[in-house]
Symmetry: C2
């Protein structure tokens, strides 16, 4: 059987696959920091070389930002589009890493072997499960597994500014019958998951500016309003006592989870105490009246991702700064409109500024939430394929993260996406000591072999 042969090839090739992943993980392709631009290009070139070697027609496509990598293999059958991203998050605070973030290694842990590096889980390790599954298929059969187009981008962690124009300019090349995205997680270590709802995202950076220059707190402390004090006061009002966001109109478009989906979630028997306990917390901070699972999968949020003002170095400096800043992001659900929320947030801040303060405000358009068409046959086939690989049957899950590509594929290419990933809650993506379970990498490759086998025939 082709399937068994391809799975065996995946098993035999695991060590070599790891070596290839390590080579990619060694490239510090941080897309949010211009210092690493050349490394992003290097990562794209590395992927082009790998995919060309596998028999794809692969090329680097430069954009005003980071390059796209596109690889095609034409064959009979339904056209399948595969999406991943080769860029990674920044690594600060560096001092909290136990090893250098771009010096990958397999480490033994209490929970088994893990691949430790920035990008191991998000998203290089996940993206390479596609590539290695296709390699295993080819090793077993002599040919790539069907009608394939791969799109790997390098701006996912910085808001994908080049993505829309690129999709619009390459509609025909990229349009497919179905898309697969590998940038999500397992429900738990034994239960694979297809993510069928995703929250949207709006990210805003702002600064409150008061005094025309930094002031000495001895000379001006008291009569001069301190921007740190203004910022703290504004940010403290973002949530009410019940954990609800206080911006007027914020909840417009937020709808309850349909009962049939909610019932499925209840059946998952999600362990909220373990979920929070794993990160050292015990008291849910989200909206009262909703379960932890609903808070993550189905409710919108406002989070202060960063704030800073004044002197933050060693020792003390008795300064009143001229400005204080914050980065705030919103996770959106239902039909919440990122543009309307951006404007409402701006007005909400302005209404809270002291008379002689000014606001600096920078935002991106953001992306609304998405709900997948789970009635399509690919969902059932993929679910069965995953259930064959893992100890427990696959579940349809919500997802707290935001993967704007899914909406873009639908709007621009007319393609629906199946989101399958093998990340775990404790992978520490966006955090120090990011890891990807070696089991996720291995069984992830095997899972894609199975999904390809189930879907390629159409």
């Amino acid at each position: 059987m082709t399937l068994d042969a391809a799975l065996s090839a995946a098993d035999r090739g695991l060590d070599a696959a790891l070596e290839r992943l390590f080579a990619l993980l060694r490239i510090p392709s941080i897309s949010t920091d211009p210092v690493y631009h050349a490394d992003c290009v290097k990562a794209a070139d590395w992927l082009v070389d790998e995919l060309t070697g596998l028999g794809f027609a692969a090329s680097r496509r430069d954009t005003p930002g980071k390059p796209m990598v596109v690889a095609r293999h034409e064959a009979p059958g339904p056209k399948m589009l595969f999406y991943g991203h080769y860029d990674v998050q920044p690594v600060d605070p560096l001092e909290l890493w136990d090893r250098k973030p771009f010096d990958p290694a397999v480490e033994d842990t209490a929970a088994g072997k893990v691949i430790r590096a920035r990008g191991a889980a998000d998203d290089k390790g996940q993206m390479m499960t596609f590539v290695e599954a296709m390699r295993a298929w080819k090793a077993a059969t002599g040919a790539l597994p069907g009608n394939l187009v791969l799109l790997f981008e390098g701006e996912e962690e910085s808001g994908s500014p080049s993505l829309i124009p690129f999709l619009e300019a390459h509609r025909e090349e990229l349009a497919a019958d179905i898309a697969f995205v590998c940038d999500t997680g397992m429900f738990d270590t034994d239960t694979p998951s297809i993510t069928t709802m995703l929250r949207g995202l709006l990210a805003v950076e702002f600064a409150v500016k008061g005094p025309s220059r930094d002031l000495h707190s001895g000379l001006f402390g008291g009569p001069a309003m301190n921007p740190n004090r203004v910022l703290a006061k504004i940010l403290s009002q973002l949530h009410d006592g019940d954990g609800r966001v206080t911006i007027p109109g914020f909840y417009d478009g937020v709808t309850p989870v349909p009962e049939e989906i909610a019932a499925g979630w209840r059946a998952l028997d999600f362990d909220a105490a373990a979920f929070l306990g794993e990160v050292g917390l015990s008291v849910p901070a989200g909206e009262q009246g909703f379960s932890v699972l609903e808070q993550v999968w189905a409710r919108p949020t406002a989070e202060i991702n960063g704030m800073w003002g004044g002197y933050t170095g060693a020792g003390f400096k008795t300064v009143l700064p001229a400005r204080a800043s914050a980065k705030v992001s919103f996770r959106l659900v239902g039909t919440q409109d990122p543009i309307a929320i951006r404007d409402a947030f701006r007005a909400w801040i302005e209404a809270r500024l002291p008379e002689d303060f000014e606001l600096e405000f920078v935002s991106r358009d953001g992306a609304p939430a998405t709900v997948m068409p789970t009635g399509r046959p690919e969902f059932a086939r993929a679910r069965a394929a995953l259930s064959a690989e893992w100890p427990n049957p696959a579940v349809f899950a919500g997802g707290g993260g935001s993967i704007p590509i899914v909406g873009r594929f639908r709007e621009i290419l007319g393609v629906d996406s199946v989101l399958i990933g093998f990340g775990l809650d404790d992978d520490g993506i966006h955090s120090p000591n990011e890891k990807y379970s070696l089991r996720s990498f291995h069984k992830g490759i095997r899972s894609w072999v199975r999904v390809l086998d189930a879907v390629r025939a159409g």
Copy 2:
């Protein structure tokens, strides 16, 4: 006349005095940052060389922190102790400087010539007015002006950790009849000032720690409590709607300004709108019911000197940080007890922490406020000397800053201090583009020549 000859010598020597000050300003003696330790030692050595050249018995006295510089000249008459500090504040944010902070120059401005450099006003320029006055005196008379001991420290900007043990170990050498401190300001550009009240200082740094690691806001946003949110909420409660500090017991020991002093302040005709307008503000932020002058000179404050948490670099990172931090300093008046306030602040924060959060808390003992014994004859003599130099008569003023040395001199050496300085409100000490008026430097030197003449005879 000796006085006139010494004043003429000061005038003639101004250019050379500037060159010497520039040499000192070129040394980046930032005491709060260990990177600059060698530069602090270099500044101390430079002072020892200068003072030795002037005929003092001068030496560098190493401490566990930055060295002290002590210079003595024994002569008949009352023993006068002079205090200044050669260390300077950090220079960040560097990008707001119009020239390199340690590349001093005289610049023409709308308000006249200024010496531009970090430390020009705080305190190298002020400290050197002592030294240059003594040099002018010696140039005119062939001898130093009396029974002198100079103490220049290098830890003033970092809380003077070595000062108390040093004073205790050198009581006899440093004990004097009167001390002069040059680290304060003019009342306005034409009105010299003797500062007779100083606020105390307590500085605290703390962090609120929640999740055991940084979290992804997509995976955990909602149920996981964000330390930035906790910190903003705590800091927002530090002041009530009337600008009063809300920590229980904070106002214990705060007494009204005595009516005779308050009357003197009212007579100063202080222009609050101009004071705030100069730094781009219009609405006083301090306690309601007190004038701006009272807010700065006679009321205690709590200021957030720095706060930070999460991602603060370029672009966006959708992180929930594991911790968020703040530096808060308090200016104290009357008999407010820094130890009691430190403990009350700690308890006040702890009462506001979520159940599964922890507090990290670091403080220094701080220093209480001080009130000078203005009945001593040196105050009247110095006031007359200053009034002879400047367009307007000298005033007795309050001071919003904190100069703990004054309390230490009283407690450990039994010496009272006369605080005279020539800084202006717009000097930008602790800020980018710090400057010291060339007029302050020149007339400051002349002022000390006059004060020495008035006080040296006892």
